[in-house]
Symmetry: C3
Subunit: 440 residues, 3 copies
């Protein structure tokens, strides 16, 4: 408030304030001053976008709580709160340095831990950039919690959340986005296109989620001995819908914010993001209507998310008409992927593997196919290589990690706890104490 | 992410990045470079504002779900998701071209369908502008769903949503805001003042809602044979309140974003928007207290929305003190309008006709009365003409449309479906399966 | 919309629009034009930040409703709606002038009531600044409603809300932030550091809440005659968690927006805000786990808020590593403070006194201890003086105010009303009419 008040000395003499204390334009050439104003706009956009991406945490919390049972709602809320909180700290301590620190090899960075490269007298851009990257890292971790909902121990959850934000995500990230003393991460060096992270963020989250769901096994009663699949409906559709709207909003930071620059290019990214989300929702609705005879709410909501994940890689290098196609395919794909996972008895309560893993892979491929500057076998090849590398790295390391956690602190709650609900057993509380709740 | 990383080559050498790849300031004169930075700020503001207006979809979903019964909650959520999703696509394909395309007559545009005028090498402003206009178009469609809640078939809903976004809204919009090869829409040419759409968006939504509510008829049991009116309370007040707060937030994009320019003029628009919403809430509360003996929650929430709708036309051309008066009148008006509609047995479950139709008309008139540059009989006359033209066009076309839908695919669900709830019958789901729900 | 359309005359000729009507750059020197673009960025940031802070009202509403019983949910929602609505009006009429008006003494301002210093031809910065300050003022008032929840009369609430926004908050604010004809508020003149209001906003809210909770007395049944404390759990944890995420988002406006300038300094403020919130949540979780044997949800949520309140004073003048420490201490402190207040039988249903009062004081002290430019006994002394002055002024005036309200219109509802629930008795409504609700 101080800088502000030095100018606002007298009410009635409010002057338009052009400059804060940090820079005196008089000392700058016109060209330097113009550059500085543009730089300020870049900071503003990057940080506002980071705030929008942060808000996606609320979206994930609402979607995951809404799509699961009332008896586990406190637990899933706690997990969402904690993976962002712990994720922020781990990414500050370790992850950011691994992902963007100086790297001799192109495989991971080795400097910048604890934001050590920042000095109060130095350029604060590293802080703006860290803020934007930290909310991305936490997104990857949050995706996992949905697929593992309703049966994971809280301590096990906290551990894996640390590993994902501190190790699995930033190392893959360094391959595709990370900086080097000279050159770039190895995937980036090959020309891999993943502008805002269909693979880097969403597939990493989705494949880690897949490993977790496999190690955990399905929820009790989900797949019955006679072969039937019992639907376990989510307990609060208004929350889930609210969550999807919040995520859609957050994606307007996620995709166009990845420019980290306030320029004209963000317009097309906004439009592509919105069109793909819209077609994703419409096509998932139509697909569910065709498959089940009714327009299904959870599929439609997941369809919007599928479209958003799908356009994330190519949002800056495909046309709006291509975005419509990408979203439509994602909307169909997500429904069939959810059904397929159920058929092979992998229990993913919220559809996270299908939305983020599968549609993330589709979006990364599509960014090559629909590339506005034309495509080629080489472009497609690199995209497939990146998709494959992500799956191998993430699924393998996550599988090892979950097995290790399972053997040590334990990953799954006891059957009694699962039946009773994680809220009362793990947190000694209830999400809705004034209501009669009867989760199956 | 690529542009970003080329500069961030070495951790510890993070430089403030002033320019992205698209423009090289060295090639520009100082004046051109300054203009370009301002242009970037305009893009930023227009698109952030569009994101805020998008979020109003979540607000409408929460208000409409909260103000209706639990047995129909999935249905209303689906409608909100779908009218934005389909609305975005229809507005991309058809609506935008009708509203802002080249027009020889001043009555509708005939170019720019499917964003065809945009080329990757061209100026992307059309994309930023489309994004902002698309979220407006969807708002008009969403308003209708509230008034028709709890008894409309989903297929009928999807059809009318397409018509509103693709035809009714953009054609009226072209009269008041649309561009021409030379000149402007006919209402705009007369000097009609509707800065952010009290009439163009809200009254269009409100009068279409009125036509829909009339064609549908009231919910079963609402108006009893002995003349009594049965109150059908909304099932979730926290959701409704959250929705109002989200809408209020979104209006900070809706009104000041309508400048599509980042300049000083947005300050007064913010202040006016906030003061009118605040007085709307206070005066609706006081009116309900006086009329019913208790401060009533749904009236107070609608009062805030009434104030927001009321200030939308004049937010840029009335003083803050006038905004207080406009909001106060809207807050009183909305209560009496809700009571009046009930008296003439038009069943509008959420008060959409009163909030958007009636207060939209009031706001448009008020923009003339309180015009900061003075008023005149001519100004008032044009405002009244615009209000009347909106009512005639919208109500008539919507009435025909709803009658057509009713005669073909059907507009209203069966009495059994309505009694049972739309969620189980239309969507084979329930919003709250873990709770005991007993909607009347 | 008008300015926009004059340029968009022909579809296909969409030009990037650099300037709106209000300024013609041709008449400006390059230096003046550069200053003007920066000024526009400052407006943009201040007003977007104000919108984010406004949205904190939704966060408080959800936290307070979620942490209290279902039978009082409508009441708490109404209070949140009304304190922002009435607060906006009172701050427009009186508060802003008292806080920032011309002052001969350094103890309160005496000009600028009703935004009288603004003229349509004048500089609109006062409007942008008012908007940002108004949402701060309403925050202080809202904090109080949580501590006094579930037993306060609605009329009494409306009265004290007017006093807090119109008198108690702005007068203290003028000491720490207010302008003078020459010089500054007396605390500001001494060098008091409270960048975004740990003391000015949060402690004022917290200590007023303390006075209110004391005058009201505890909820019926909370402290039993045999000395036991009955837990009264909040009725809706998803709402409470959503509220915390919304508040965290809003704080990205609250703290960095307090620059009211779009420059590089906002990056560090973002990072500090986020790190302190994250550590606050983690340390409150760990503390609750250690104290109660289970990781407790309401403590963890309040821990995030505690970290946010703690970093508010020093967000611009401490390092990220210090922010981590400040958040950690706040997270521990809030748990012990909640337990302590229960031990001395002060009933604060949502923990507002601990979060805002106690952690506000801690944050203000910490801003002196961890000052990036070094600390001194004098700095610490001034911080302690500010903390003390806030407590004395706020607690004393709030105590008198609540006693006066209690003796006149009455502050507390009748025992029957409290048992039955405030919703049915004060508002003739219910938050959840379709559900079976059994609040204790």
């Amino acid at each position: 408030m101080k800088a502000m008040l030095t100018v606002l000395t007298i009410m009635g003499l409010w002057a338009g304030r052009a400059w804060a204390g940090d820079e005196a334009p008089t000392a700058l050439s016109n060209k330097e001053a113009i550059d500085l104003v543009q730089t300020h706009a870049n900071y503003l956009w990057t940080l506002i976008a980071a705030a929008l991406v942060f808000f996606m945490q609320a979206g994930f919390a609402m979607v995951e709580a809404g799509f699961t049972r009332a008896k586990n709602a406190v637990n899933i809320l706690m997990k969402n709160l904690m993976d962002f909180s712990m994720g922020s700290l781990i990414y500050w301590a370790i992850g950011f340095g691994l992902m963007f620190g100086a790297s001799a090899t192109g495989w991971f960075g080795t400097s910048g831990f604890f934001l050590a490269d920042f000095s109060p007298d130095g350029d604060p851009w590293v802080l703006a950039f860290w803020m934007f990257q930290a909310v991305f890292a936490a997104t990857a971790a949050t995706i996992v919690s949905g697929a593992m909902a309703e049966r994971t121990k809280f301590t096990g959850y906290m551990l894996y959340s640390i590993f994902v934000c501190g190790l699995i995500y930033p190392i893959f990230g360094s391959w595709a986005w990370g900086s080097l003393h000279e050159g770039s991460g190895w995937l980036e060096g090959l020309g891999f296109i993943d502008f805002a992270g269909s693979t880097v963020v969403h597939s990493v989250g989705g494949w880690a989620a897949l490993a977790g769901a496999i190690v955990l096994g399905p929820r009790l009663g989900k797949y019955q001995s006679d072969g039937r699949i019992r639907p376990i409906p989510g307990h609060n559709m208004p929350l889930a819908a609210l969550g999807v709207f919040i995520l859609w909003l957050g994606w307007f930071g996620f995709n166009p914010g990845s420019t980290t620059t306030a320029d004209k290019s963000i317009a097309m990214i906004f439009v592509n993001t919105n069109l793909a989300a819209a077609t994703g929702a419409v096509f998932a609705l139509l697909t569910s209507w065709f498959k089940f005879g009714k327009p299904e709410v959870s599929m439609s909501l997941n369809g919007a998310l599928a479209g958003l994940v799908g356009i994330t890689a190519g949002c800056a290098n495909v046309s709006p008409a291509s975005a419509v196609i990408i979203g439509a395919v994602a909307g169909v794909l997500v429904v069939f992927s959810v059904l397929f996972l159920d058929r092979i008895r992998i229990d993913d309560p919220v559809g996270a593997v299908s939305v983020h893993g599968v549609c993330g892979a589709w979006g990364t491929l599509a960014a090559g196919i629909f590339n506005i500057g034309g495509t080629s076998a080489k472009i497609i090849g690199v995209q497939l290589l990146g998709i494959g590398a992500c799956f191998v790295w993430t699924f393998a390391t996550a599988l090892i990690m979950f097995k290790l956690i399972d053997k040590t602190v334990g990953l799954r709650v006891s059957p009694e706890e699962e039946t009773e609900g994680l809220d009362s057993m793990e947190h000694a509380g209830s999400a809705y104490p004034d209501f009669e709740v009867s989760s199956i």
